[in-house]
Symmetry: C2
Subunit: 82 residues, 2 copies
């Protein structure tokens, strides 16, 4: 996985999850330091429509355009943050 | 929310999410320090069947017996960990 490519893709994530992966809005999760394999599985679940709460609709639309490589890179990037 | 009650309920969570909320298995998320409101929403989504990936089936069965108070207490407990 390419952490720098993930960082570039993450610009759009920052408004909810924080520039450093620490979400200021309490209904959103922190991502910094999270296990990369979990982040990858979560993004794929959103993309596949396997998370269907009203809040999940936001993440489905964010995940839809991501390739498997994008997802791996984003997961590696957030996992690398503290 | 009652952090000590959450801690008592969390015994069954530790095998996957770690005794201190740090998951040793990379496909499972760390919970320590996560935003409580997000943890509460996630547990309610699992309970309501709004997360439907194969892996989510585990969490659905864990969340089913939890009351709203249990969920609030668990979320407060894990959010309080570092």
């Amino acid at each position: 996985a390419d952490i720098n490519a993930g960082k570039a893709k993450a610009a759009v994530c920052a408004s909810c999850h924080g520039a450093d992966g620490h979400a200021a809005i309490p209904t959103y999760p922190h991502l910094a330091g999270q296990n990369a394999a979990y982040l990858e599985a979560a993004l794929k679940a959103y993309k596949a429509g396997q998370r269907t709460s009203p809040q999940a609709a936001i993440m489905k639309s964010m995940a839809m355009p991501l390739s498997d490589d994008d997802i791996k890179n984003l997961a590696a990037y957030y996992s690398s943050l503290k």
